[in-house]
Each structure stands twice: as structure tokens, then as C-alpha cells.
Subunit: 340 residues, 4 copies
């Protein structure tokens, strides 16, 4: 009845599998037609499970398939530049998981390729599709809290990542890896750019991170262009669960986004009153990931601009790089040092 | 790879559509192959949308199709008896939406047909698949609250139903329509049968219900066989939202199941601190419906007993009939009056 | 500067001591001038501590003191009749802790004495002075929830009382001892009288209560005169803490009164998210007790009617007696059996 | 019976009146015997109301009274130096409302006088006596959250102060006026000193503050000596209420201190689910103020060290001065610049 967009997924790790399932089973306007992963077994097995016609261990095969109109790039960050540029040159609409890249050089090569080819391009800041954040944005725009003056955001992971992943050359380091979501939220919710950041950080819970050059906790102060303030905290040691919260204080009120509880059950014993906690990202943002993919598909089908642009991805990366440098150099860092 | 169970859905109203989507798109072990509804357009359109091979306006066509191994019966309650018996005789595994029937006579005819044919049969008490209720059951069985002594349950709908539906000959009336879920929860969570009920009720918010012989509020006291106590409240006028909560008090602690908030956003203004509310059943129990269907499919495939039996359906109906009679006769009613 | 009302306190058990401290130290318009208790040491020590001029082991000494203008009667319930009648004949304004008495006969003798002497008389239903209940009453009267249609109240104590106290001849039994607060709230918040009650109850947690003829759990269904519904649950085995909550559902919304947390601290560990619980009555209603005494003093000083009358006390007792009988006789009991 | 400590109060503004009432009416071990305020009517009226024997418009009269053994200094901050030094020289035990002074010079003159006279001296950081903060401290010391690694604190006032008060020469400016509580909490709860601070701030809600040189919002990043991190946010424009919250993240868990609700009532309407908010400081910390005074009195009577020392007051002031300078100079400021 309705047209279905034929899509391929490149990179079938944890996130790639989630996207693949959504595209194959939960989004009526997409048809998952091609899977690619360097590990043959991973590609083949998922293709079987989801009934996907084609798979390959070489993403260039996928890009060469004229039937594929859009691709989801969920391969490791270090591959994003090459994959995205090739996909753009192949004329595909592109959804790229965050972060777009770990350097401005790679990012700009990507953005140039997007500009030159004119393909649709979106980066995966899925929190913009979470019901809480969406409604917060609406309330701010409706003037419910007056002018927003302070942006606070907390992103806490419940465990230390694999050391190979934590290596800054792979993940970008704690701040780029985790706070980049909060930096994007800050720009979006405050409708403003960041002028300056200052970071304190350290390795306070997992000393093994020192061996690969990463830290586990940081607090980043932000000054926005229009004078508004911000603070972002990221941590890898919220052993109680996955704790993502954002507050916006305005001149007329405030908004708090986030929640603790996973299961709607309160247990009352002599030890106290308690409940469980959201364990990890998919329990918290599973619906947002789905809404994000659905929105991308619909925009490609109707030839509308995606809501998160390459420019947004670069801007969040700039803040992440500046915040990382601020920590290393123990000084406030102006974003003007990074602007294109 | 894995076997997929070919299923059909009979009755494509609101619930039938939800089940159909789940079976077609969200459950990898089922394959939706046949749809039936007396309204041709409804059957045809949904079949198109979900890519279902066959559809008919006559459920007997569906039952006659040998490829269909299981059926979901989501047609109006008044049709359950005939449809379920025919499905049993056709050898299908049967999932029947609650309530199984509005009379014990119809129920027993169904149960006899199930017994004689030996088909798998489950009734749709989806709350048993909700994460909160599941964990509550686990905690009780683990002894966290000692012996359960009081069961309290609240079921409040946010609006007055269509008067045609509210008619007791169609819906069974407020208590059978709504409290039957709570009666099932009571039996399940307390691991006990009900001995006696006493009901107060009335038409307090929507006088138009008087014209069809229904009421809009009731409180039902329960005495369990082992001496434990219970109270169920149902209401049609929770205009603030869909409010489903259950409390179990035990000798060592208590459990409260349920929640108010739909969106993880707290709004703080001079008017106070507030958030939104769960609007209706699908926002509250969508995941439970999906888990229920998945569990049924898996049990049929692996030839295991379903978790909610025909006996459970009859037992909840008995309590609903007794509670309704108690309201009408203003006296405590013993369940022994209803036992088979 | 301002006049201070000279007051005496009769009965210096737990509640008597609380009232005495409030009257001596926290209420600027009262002056505590006389204490009486059958235990000499108790009277003497508290008089010393609070700097009270006079004390006696015989309450008649206190009543004979012309300087004393008002008395707080906090002696055991069994003594209320004689003490209150003597106080009325002595012309004192009287505050009597709940329950006024355990029988309608004693109650009516008290009310007759009050009528004949014309003294001010108030009974201690302190929940009417709790900030949550006060605001709930205001919201109902302001029409925020439309017409109230269902009244639900939970009163749970965290431990089994002393067996001597639990004896129905002393405490009145579970329902009179605990649910009388909820019955008063029901009449007050619903602005209506109760027509009929039906009770289920039992001894489910503390079998030792059977030896003195008391039970530990009950649920009481209520039908109000105007057709509204109610349910009251009382329990002695909320081992997790003191749990007092009330809900009012109306035709346009609902109100929930009560809270769980004692200390404003949330603890988040791998075991979950939790906090402590209100341990007992003084932590929950300490402010309400103080506000109640302050209101009584101010009304006596300004010659205004107290907000809780002898009629209110009798009405709550009627419901308690009917609910107790309903449990014993397993039948709905009409309040008309008890009306004067 | 027990000894009562004779105390005087110097300065009868808002806080002086609160302390006076507590000392006169709520603390059995103190006797309020002398009041001093430059406004005669204020001293005389409060003395009448509380039955205080002596009052004066000159605090030196109070200090000259040998009967007065302890004084509460609640006069304007600019007077603290002279009043406290004179009180120390008069041999009184001294409780001084925060902040001790606005400069290190004044502070050191005070601390020198305390050292030389050996009198007991405590500064009013009442949050250390709040049940939530007390229990948080206990939990940290008990190891519940492992090693604390991040300290976050929010202090938001619900309105713009009087401009005369906001003047930095009077209040010390936003950071000294408000965040000094959070700085003290940080040192206390983290059991560590601050090494470095970095502040962003601005006048974002109340432009009139620019006319007196104050700001209305600030975020302060902190690095502790042992490497732990911190962030303090203060704001004058939480128009929804008085919002004081603190979080401690540790290597094994977290603690959140604070709450929103004033009245235990949830209102549920079609507009959503909501409640009211703590309006201001006395509703939030009234019990803490009382506990603080009681603790001070008991320590003086039993000749024990107070829990908040002059050193603590200086240390919090140092952080406040450094944080203020950091805002002005847009650079991280090391606390070593301020150490004595």
C-alpha cells in the first residue's frame, strides 16, 4: 500500500542489531534489505533471523546495491568517515550513529561529502526523540518556564566499559563518549550555542582506566552565547543503575527530565521503602531509538530535512573536544578555538 | 530458522488490531496468516497493512484453513462461546480475550469443549504479564512480605464507555467488565480462592448509565478461603487518567504496584509541581499485552500449559457474578453458590 | 500582653505528655497550670520539668481549682465518662482525646452533661488539623474534584499493641481503636453521613490477639446517605512503618493524602533505590496535634464553637460499633440501628 | 531541675526572631534572658511576647550582664566582627549566624579573639542539623556509597532579594550569600578540602541586580584535594519555590538529599497530577534551626566542642571568595591563594 523505504545497516554490533530489529519489525515504512558486518557469522545469522534478503562482510557490496536507498551506519566510530563518505557518493540517505567522528578533520570531510552529494544525513542523538525531552522542548517553546537560564545534565553509566573501548583513540574518552549527548541537548533545549567550557575530571573509581588514558568522572561548566549557564556531569560508576537526568531552570519555572524506576513496584519492608532502577540504555531509551529511526525513515520518504543535522554533530563534537582540552589544560576553553 | 506458529485473529476491533500488530510485527515466533471480521473493509485493510495472506468476513473460513494452528479470539464477548467452541473443534490452540463469557452456562460449554478436544486454551488476563505484577508475584513467593493478608486493587477508567457497550447484556456491567481483572489478580497474587464478597455500588458520575442499567462505581469487599481480606474498587470516572493500582499487605511488609506518570518530565511553576498521567490502557499495559501473546505463542510451540487456564477464567467470572449479585441484593454472597 | 488560657491536663500517659509539652512550651496563648495523674511520680516529674505550678494524683483536685479554665482529658478511655462529666459540672472547657467512650450509653451521658452545662467540648480527631487533610477539605469545597463519589482510607500501625490494651473492653477492639479516625474523616471530607457498613476482618498476623478477643486486620465497606461509596482498611501489621493514607475520587478528579518518607534522603545502591518510612504517629501527626491544641485554645479564648463536636464523636462511634457488629455477624449493618 | 543556660540574642530581624522563639519556647535547656536590637520597638515587643526579662537597644548592655552566659549573634553580617569580638572578650559562649564575615581580615580578627579568650564559638550552618543531611553523613561514614567522588548541590531561592540586601557590600553577593551553605556541606560530606574552583555566572532573571553589582545565577565547579569533583548551582529565580538539593555519587552508590513537597496531598485532575512546593527556608529547615540551637546549648552546658568551628566558617568563606573571584576573572582560582 504505502511505499516502504529499502534500507541497509552497516555494522551489526549492539546498536546495529537494535536498529536492524526496529527497521525490520517495528517500522512499517521501512524494509530492511541488506546487512553488512566484517564478521560473517554476525551478518548471516541476523539476516536469517530477520528475513533480510542480502548480507555481506563488505559494506561496499551493500552500497553498490541500487535497491538500497538509505543506510544506517553503526560500525565503530573510527570507520564512520570512510563509510559515510562512500555512502554519500553512492547517493544513499544516511543515518550515522553518534559520534560522527573523533576529530574535526574527519567530521569536516564527512560534512563536505554530504554537502557535495546533497544526500540526507542525520546523526544519532536519540534523546531528542525521548518523550520526556520532546515534551520539555515543547514546554520551553510554549514559555512555561520563561527564559531558560541554567541547563544541568547528568549522564551516569552503571559500569566501567571494556578497556579497549575506553581508550580515547577508540571512544574519544569519557567526555566525548558520554557527555556529547548532553552537549547536544544543551544546544537544542537552550536554543543557543556554547561560548566557553571549563572541566574538572579524574579517575576516581576505576584506576584501570588510567592505563589506557581515560578518566571516569567529569563536571563541565558551560557558558552559553546569550549568557545562560550550564553544567554537565558524566560518570562511569553509578553502580546503582543508568542515571540520565536533565534540569532546565528558567525565569518563570523549571523542568526536570528523567526517572529512576524500571518496574512499577514499591517494596515496603522493615529495611525501608524501595524500588528497582533503570538498568541500562535500552530500558531507558529503547522507545527513543525506535522513534528516531521512524522519524528518519519518514523524512527520507517525504524528502524533508532531518531534525539532527551534520552541523549539530559538529557542534556537539566541538564542545566535547573543548571540554576534554579544558580538563587536560586546567583552563577555560573558548569554543571559538574550534569553529569552522 | 526457528519454526513460526501460523496464527489467525478473529474480531478486529480495538483489541484485535493490537493483537494483530503484535503477532505480525513484534513476535518473531508467530506468523499472522489469517484475519477475520464481520466488517469486510476492516479485515481487508488490516490484511493489506500487515501483509497477511488471507482474510474473510466469516470466521469459519479462518477455522477451516488447516494452515492456521492458533487463533486469537477478540470478537465481542457475546460471540466467544460459539467461536471458541468451533475453534476447539477445529483443533486450534486458542487465546480468548477476557471475559471468557458473561454467564457460567456459556463458560461451561466452552470449558467442556476445551476438555473434550484437548486444545490449548488461555484467557487474556494481561496484567499477569505486566512487569510490576510479575515482580510482585515473585516477591511474594520469595517471602519478602511474609504471608499476604490483605489484597487491595483499584481499577479506574478515565471516561464513561459508550452506552451500547455499557449495557450489562453486552459488557456484563461495571463489575464484570472492569473488576474481573482485579479478581483474577486477587486469586493469583494471594494464591487463594475467594469465599465471600460484599459490594456497594452506584451511579454517581454518569447518570446516563442508569438508562442502560449500569453503574459507574463499586467497592467490593472480599474474604478469601484462608481468611485473608480484600477490597476492589472500580470506577468509570477517573477523569485525570487511567489509574490501576494494587497493594498487598503481608505479615512482614507490603507491595504497591502501579504508577501515575506517563512522561518522565516534572514541571515546576508557581502553580505547583506536576506531571502528566497515564492516559489509557495501551500506554499502561501495551508491554504486557505483547508479553502475553509472546508467552502464549511460545507455549503452544513448545507444547506447555498456558499460565492462565479456563478454570482461572471461570473462577474470576464467578467472583464477578457474585459481586454483581451482592450489589443488587445488598447482602454478602458466598462463592459456593457459583462453584461447579 | 495577650490573655493566656490556664489549662490542666488529666492523664499523663504518652498522649498526655505530648499535649502537656505543647500547652506549656509551644502555644503562646495557653498556660499549663495543673497536671493530674494517678501515678504520683509521673505527675510530679512532668510538673517539675515543665514548670507547672500544681499537680495531683486526683483529677478532682484539678477540677476544684478555680484558676483552671480548660482541661485536656487524656486519661484511659474507660475513665472519660466520669472525668468529662465532672469537668463539665465544674464549668471547664473540655478537650477529650478520642475515642469519647466505647459505648453509646457512656457517650450520651457525656453529651447530656455537655448540653446541660453548656461548656465547650471537643474530641481529638487530630487528622482534621493535618496540613494534607486540611488542604484536601479546601480543595473539595473549592470544587477541584467535582462531587466526591468514593472515600478510601488506610490506617496501618507498625506493631501489635500490648495485649492488655488490645482487649476490646479497653481499646474497643481494632475497628473502634483505629478506624474511628477514618470514619470521622469520611463524614468530614464527604460532608455526608454513613448509611450502612459491611466488614470483613480477621486475626492474620498476630495470633496472640485471639487470646484477648481482638483481630488485626479489617476492611469496611461504607455506603453514604447520598449514595457515595467508601472503604476503610485498618491493620496492625504494617511492619514497615506507620502508613496512613486517604483517597477521595470525585466526578472531576481525585485527591490522595499521605506520604511514606520520614527523612528527605534517597539511597541508591546496587540493591535498588530506597528511603526510610514514617515510623509512628508522632512523626506523622505531631504538627497536627499541636495545631489541634492551638485551635482549641484560641476558640475557647474567643468563645467560638470547636470544629469537632460531641455529635461528631458520637457519629464516628456509631460507625465503629456498626462496623464491629458487621464483622461479628457477617452482615451489612444499617446505621439507623444506632442513631439517637 | 536541670540547669538552664541563660542566653541573649543580639539582632532581632527575621532570623533573630526565629532563634529567640526557639530558645524561649522549644528548648528546655535554655532560658532566654536578654534581647538586643537597635530598633527599640522590636526588642521591647519580642521581650514582652516571650516573657524575656531584659532588653536593650545596645548590645553592649547585654554583654555587660553577667547573668548572660551565651549569645546568639543574628545582627547584620557587617556587625559580626565587632559584636563577636566584644562577646568573646565578655567571656560569652557565642553562636554566630552565617556568614561569619565578608572578608578574611574580619574573619581572622574574630578567630583570633576566639582563640585568645577560649570561648565556645559556632557558626550557623544549619543544614548540618537537617535530618536528611545528617543521615547522608552517617551513610557515607558507614560506607554505603563507597568513596564519595562527586558532590553536587543546588540552592535556589524563590525570589529576588531586596536590592539593598543584594548589594555585595551587604550580602557578599550571590555566591557568598547562598553558596556558602553548599561549600560547607561539600567540605563536611566529602570530608575533604577544596583545591580549586571555577565559576560561571550572570544576571539572567532580575536585571535590576546589575544596578547594585550582584548576579542571580552561578555554577561553580570544584576540585577537592583528594581529586573528587564538585559542582554547586545557586539561583535567585526558582519562582516555583525553595529548592535545596544535594547529591553525592560514590564508587558504590549515591545519595540524594532534598524534597519538593510541602503538603502531603496529591491533586489529580485533567490538567495532570501535582502537588505544592516547599515555599521557603523556614518550612524546609525549621527543624534544623531548632536542632542546631539545641545542640549548641547542650554543648555549652556540657563543655563540649561545637560541631561547626570558626575554622569551618573561614574555610567556607575562602571558597566563596575564590568562587566569586573566579566568576569575575573568568579563570580557575586555587584555594591556596586564600589559606591562612
Amino acid at each position: 500500500m504505502n511505499a516502504r523505504l529499502p534500507v541497509g545497516v552497516i555494522g551489526l554490533g549492539r546498536m546495529g542489531q537494535i536498529y536492524s530489529r526496529h527497521l525490520a519489525q517495528h517500522i512499517s515504512q521501512s524494509r530492511l534489505v541488506y546487512l553488512a558486518d566484517v564478521i560473517q557469522e554476525r551478518a548471516q545469522r541476523l539476516a536469517d533471523e530477520l528475513g533480510v534478503e542480502s548480507w555481506s562482510t563488505d559494506y561496499r557490496d551493500l552500497l553498490a546495491d541500487k535497491a538500497v536507498q538509505a543506510v544506517f551506519v553503526t560500525s565503530p566510530t573510527s570507520t564512520h568517515r570512510d563509510v559515510v563518505i562512500a555512502a554519500a557518493q553512492a547517493g544513499k540517505a544516511i543515518f550515522c550513529e553518534k559520534p560522527i567522528a573523533l576529530t574535526l578533520e574527519d567530521t569536516d570531510m564527512i560534512l563536505d561529502a554530504i554537502d557535495q552529494t546533497g544526500v540526507t544525513f542525520q546523526v544519532g542523538f536519540m534523546r531528542r526523540f525521548d518523550a520526556g525531552y520532546v515534551k520539555a522542548k515543547e514546554q520551553i517553546e510554549a514559555g512555561v518556564i520563561g527564559n531558560p537560564v541554567t541547563f544541568k545534565s547528568i549522564g551516569r553509566d552503571p559500569f566501567c566499559p571494556d578497556l579497549e573501548y575506553a581508550r580515547p583513540s577508540v571512544s574519544g574518552g569519557l567526555i566525548l563518549d558520554m557527555a556529547i549527548h548532553d552537549f547536544d541537548l544543551g544546544r537544542w533545549l537552550m536554543a543557543d550555542e556554547v561560548r566557553r567550557v571549563y572541566t574538572e575530571g579524574g579517575t576516581l573509581a576505576f584506576p584501570q582506566l588510567n592505563t589506557v588514558g581515560d578518566i571516569d568522572n567529569a563536571v563541565v561548566n558551560m557558558l552559553f552565547e546569550n549568557g545562560a549557564l550550564g553544567n554537565v556531569e558524566v560518570s562511569r560508576n553509578a553502580l546503582y543503575g543508568y542515571d540520565i537526568r536533565t534540569e532546565i531552570l528558567g525565569t518563570q519555572g523549571g523542568l526536570n527530565i528523567g526517572y529512576y524506576r524500571q518496574t512499577p513496584l514499591l517494596v515496603m519492608t522493615r529495611e525501608g521503602i524501595g524500588h528497582d532502577m533503570v538498568p541500562y540504555i535500552i530500558q531507558r531509551f529503547g522507545d527513543a531509538y525506535l522513534a528516531q529511526s521512524r522519524d528518519f525513515i519518514e523524512r527520507v520518504l517525504s524528502d524533508r530535512e532531518p531534525v539532527v543535522s551534520g552541523h549539530d554533530a559538529r557542534a556537539a563534537l566541538e564542545i566535547g573536544l573543548a571540554a576534554t582540552r579544558s580538563y587536560k589544560e586546567a583552563r577555560p576553553v573558548a569554543l571559538s578555538e574550534y569553529r569552522r
